[in-house]
Structures are given as structure tokens and as C-alpha cells.
Amino acid sequence: MLNFFQLIIIYAGIYALMAIGQNCITGNTGMLSLCHAGFFCIGSYATAIICKTFGLPFWFSLPVAALASGIVGFLIGVPTLRLKGDYLCIATLGLGEIIRNIATNVNPVGMMSVPRAQLFGYQFSSRNKFTFILLIWFFVLIAYILFRQLAHSRLGRAMVAVREDEVAAASNGINVTKYKIGAFTLGAAVGGTAGCFATAYTLTVQPSSFTFMVSVMVLCMVVLGGMGNLLGVILGAFIIEFISYFPQLVGLSSVIPAQASQIIYGLVLVVMMICRPQGILGRDKYRYGDPRSTFSKLRDAVKSRKGGEVKA
């Protein structure tokens, strides 16, 4: 029981890092990217290769993982970010699949027994979960502080302006493409560090674990918690991880099928979009949907299902 709680907290931390990256892309700048699994994959591989193949310490792999996924994000971003919303979504989705496809074709098994991370002679082993929680949440805290500062800076406000209205932002002298690529690269780099910690914890890398589902899960965390709200995003990571480990936690994993949690992710996306598009902790001011109250929207949704007319 305690073991599972610790596991949830560790995975929530890893995914919170990813969600912070996704939030920078989707929440702050308003680009729907679906290749966070790809960045996660690159980060994981970077750590595995550096620690195992080159035998270098884990701490060295951390910036390399961030840099590698950041560079890939930049290279992907330059051509694709000129595309409008829906095209971008598909292009990034395709790129995420390409990264996984290539990783699978290079080595379908992945890498095993990566050396453990060490700090002053102390080994972070997965048996001792508590120190791992400290390690991961320390970095989540750093990412949180950095990104909160970013959101309140000139750069962050420019990103929000791009999200709200690209044309208006451009006419106010904001270089839209530059900010989009910047946000994308930054988000990708954070996604890469999340992969780094995942490898340090599981000590294996398998290409089959970087599916499209991971990207959707991360997106779901951002949407659920509140787009553009960092605390909300971390809360979203907690909730989603809790949902996915709930069957094991209550010992009903034989009764509740594995698909149930994924169906819940889908429901979360649909229901949140209809009822509370700004997320649990999102602000009404920055809401994505139309400005009507939750109640009147629900009423209209029910009405339209009954075949009545909806007020525009």
C-alpha cells in the first residue's frame, strides 16, 4: 500500500516534469503538440546511452538529455511551427511516431541494466523509493520555479499574447514564430529531463513504452489541471497517475480492466472541454471555451442532446 503510494508519487513527479514542458507548449503558447512521448523517448535513450555505453555519471546525462531533446524539438519546430493549429497537431503526432518507429527499428528490445544514479557515493536504487521521491520532486520544484518566473516575465507574457491572438500579437511587434519555436524547444527539453529520471528509476529503456498514449496522458494532465497554470498541471499529473494506479492500489487489478483508466482519460478530455475548459485550477479570464457559465453550458448541452436549439 505504502509502496504503491510512493510509486504514484515518483511517477507523478516524472510526469509532472513532462506536463510542465507540455504546459509551456500548449498552456502558455497555445500550440497543440502531441509528441511529448518522443521527447521522453529521446531523453531516456540519452541517459541510457551515456550511463551505460559511455559509462559516464548520471548527472552528466541530465543536461545532455535536455540538450538532445531540445535540439530535436528545435529541428522539428522550425519547419512545423509555421503550420496552423490542427496541422501542427498532426505533424507533431507523426513525428512522435517516427521517433518511436526509428527507435524500434534500431533495437526493438531497448536497453537493459543501466547503471544507477549516484550522489556523493549514495546510490539511488528503486528499492529505496523515498530518496527517489526527494530527487525527483527537487527537480520538479526547480522546474516549477523556473517556469513560474518565465510565465511572469516579458517572454511569458509574449507567449500568452501569441496564444490569445497571433495576428494581434504580431501587430504588437511580437515575433510569433520566434516565440513559438522557443517555447517548443524549452518544452521539449523539459520532456527530455523527465525521460532521464524515468530511466534512472526503471534502469531500462523500451521503445514500446513511448506510445502515443503517453503523449495523450500528458496532454490530459495539462487540460485537467488547467492550461497555463503550473500548480494545476502538477495536480493534474497527480490525479492522472492516481487513476492509472488505482486498481493496483485497492487490489482490484484483476477486476478492473487496464483499459478502464484510459477510457477515463478520454472522458476527462471530453467532459472538461464541455464543462470546464480552463481546467480545475484554471482562471476564468483565460478560459478556452466560450464565456458562458458552466451551468448554462451544461443546460445547453443537455438541451442540444434533446434536439433543442442552442443559443449561439
Binding site: E97, I98, N105, Q262, L269, V270, I274
Partner: protein
């Protein structure tokens, strides 16, 4: 180095695959033309169509081995599956997309991803993870003509797709409903002023697109088997086909589908890369077309108005 006959064989296989992509791409393109939004759940409707078709077909067939009844049962199953998917498509539009029609463009997209997740995982839950084979409704021994082998199911695929596309083209260009559809895709608010029931047209679009996806799902399950996540990859590639042809353009989707099928089939042997990378070819084609000609082959270049 492959010979000419081998390349012709790849071309033939590519056309078969491409006609399936074209059918599915039509659904994407019609919805995009009217609502300017990508129906992410379209690929999973294809999967639902394949399952419905498979279940109806096996239920109708029973133990019968009468060749005439086998073929009849197959077509009945196809019609049932089309009807079911049309209803499903309309239902999804009502519940998940309609309340978001006036919202930010990101909202319906996220909702569609959610619907797609619900459908594919719901199917995995109900039918299990194991893939099933769609039995051929006829003896599927290849016919060999001058070194080229063509199987009856390939002929069926091409014939059914061509019939569907011709019917759709006639419907869109010759009927009153089709005219209303074209008007709505040009300008929604003006067509509403002209007395067109836009909500009905949108429902209709989803119904037609989903019915075509059901046909595509059944046809592609001959080659790819039936499983819960079958729609994801096929649906994505059909979307790529729609973009290549020019999204929102019905003829474009047909051309794009055929082009993508042929490209995928011929690309790997032509470039000398393993055929496991054919998915990569499709997405590389997408990114190249988006960079070179973002509006697609037949698309119009639209400027964004403020």
C-alpha cells in the same frame, strides 16, 4: 533491384491500399470542409465499422458455405455497419462536438482526441486485445495475369471504393442536399440565412463520412486484421492523404489517398529501405507537402482574415 513486373505489382498493391485511404480520407475532408476541424475519432469509427461488419457477417453466415449467400451476407454486413457507424458519428457530433462549436479551436480537437481514446479502449475492453481475421467472402486465390498477381479481395476493394466515390461525387454535385453541403462549407452563416438547416447538414456530413469510414474499415481488415487500435494508424494515414490532396476538397482526398497508397507501396523498395519504415515514409510525405505546398495538391490558398 526489382524488375518492372515487380514494380507494377507494387503499383497495383498501392492502388488497392490507396483506394481504402481515399475512402477514409473523404470523411476527414468533408468534416474539415464544413467545420474546419479534424475529427480525430474518425479512425476509431473505422475500427467500430470493422468490428460491426465482422460480427454481423459471422452472425449472418452461421455455418453456411453457399458462395452466393456468403457474398450477399458480406454486403448486408457492410450496409449494417455503414448504418451503425453513421448513427454513431452523428451521436458523437451531438454529444462531444456540438456544444463546442463556438469555442476556441483547440477545444473540439481535444474533445475529439478524448472520444478517440474512449472508442479504442472501449473496444479493447469489450473485444479483448487479440486481433481477429476477417474471413474472405469468397475463395481468395490470386489470379495471375502476365506475372502480375491480383487477388479477388483486391478487386472487391477497388470496385467498392470506386462505386462509393462515384456515388458520393454524384450526391455532392447533383442533389439538393449536396448543394446545401457545398454552400455550408463555403460560408456557414450565409447559408443559414438562405434557409439551410446547418445543424442538419453537419449531422449529415458526419453520417456520410462515418459510413464511408465503415466501408474503409471492413475493406482494410482483409489485409490488416481487426483489432481495437487498428484505426489509429490507418486513420492517421488517411488524414495524411486528405492533407496531401488538399483538405476540404473531395476530389483532393481521392487523389491524395491513391497517391499515398502508391507512395507507401513503392517507396520502400525504390529507396531500398526496410518496409517496416513505410509509416515513416507516409509522415515524411506529410511534412514535405506541408512545407512545400501547405494547401495540398488541389487546395485553395486561403489567407487568414482578421
Amino acid at each position: 533491384m526489382a524488375t518492372l513486373v515487380q514494380y507494377l505489382q507494387y503499383l497495383l498493391n498501392g492502388i488497392t491500399l490507396g483506394s481504402i485511404y481515399a475512402l477514409i480520407a473523404l470523411g476527414y475532408t468533408m468534416v474539415y470542409g464544413i467545420l474546419k476541424f479534424i475529427n480525430f475519432a474518425h479512425g476509431d469509427i473505422l475500427m467500430v465499422g470493422a468490428y460491426t461488419g465482422l460480427l454481423t457477417y459471422t452472425a449472418l453466415l452461421g455455418d453456411s458455405t453457399n458462395p452466393v449467400w456468403m457474398l450477399t451476407a458480406f454486403f448486408i454486413a457492410m450496409l449494417v455497419s455503414m448504418a451503425f457507424c453513421a448513427a454513431l458519428g452523428m451521436f458523437i457530433e451531438r454529444v462531444a462536438y456540438k456544444p463546442l462549436r463556438s469555442a476556441n479551436r483547440l477545444a473540439p480537437l481535444l474533445s475529439a482526441i478524448g472520444v478517440s481514446f474512449i472508442l479504442s479502449n472501449g473496444a479493447a475492453w469489450i473485444f479483448g486485445a487479440q486481433s481477429r481475421r476477417f474471413p474472405y467472402p469468397f475463395d481468395d486465390t490470386p489470379i495471375v495475369i502476365a506475372g502480375l498477381s491480383i487477388t479477388p479481395h483486391q478487386i472487391l476493394t477497388i470496385v467498392v471504393s470506386v462505386v462509393m466515390m462515384v456515388v458520393l461525387t454524384l450526391f455532392v454535385n447533383r442533389t439538393r442536399m449536396g448543394k446545401a453541403m457545398r454552400a455550408t462549407s463555403l460560408d456557414q452563416s450565409t447559408s443559414e440565412l438562405m434557409g439551410i438547416d446547418v445543424n442538419r447538414i453537419i449531422s449529415m456530413t458526419f453520417a456520410i463520412g462515418s459510413a464511408l469510414a465503415a466501408v474503409g474499415g471492413i475493406l482494410c481488415s482483409f489485409d490488416f486484421r481487426v483489432y481495437a487500435s487498428m484505426g489509429t494508424m490507418t486513420g492517421l494515414k488517411a488524414f495524411v492523404a486528405a492533407v496531401i490532396g488538399g483538405i476540404g476538397n473531395i476530389q483532393g482526398a481521392m487523389i491524395g489517398g491513391l497517391l499515398l497508397g502508391v507512395l507507401e507501396s513503392i517507396g520502400a523498395p525504390l529507396l531500398g529501405i526496410p518496409s517496416a519504415l513505410r509509416d515513416t515514409i507516409a509522415f515524411a510525405a506529410l511534412i514535405i507537402i506541408l512545407l512545400v505546398r501547405p494547401e495540398g495538391i488541389l487546395g485553395k490558398n486561403e489567407r487568414e482574415k482578421v
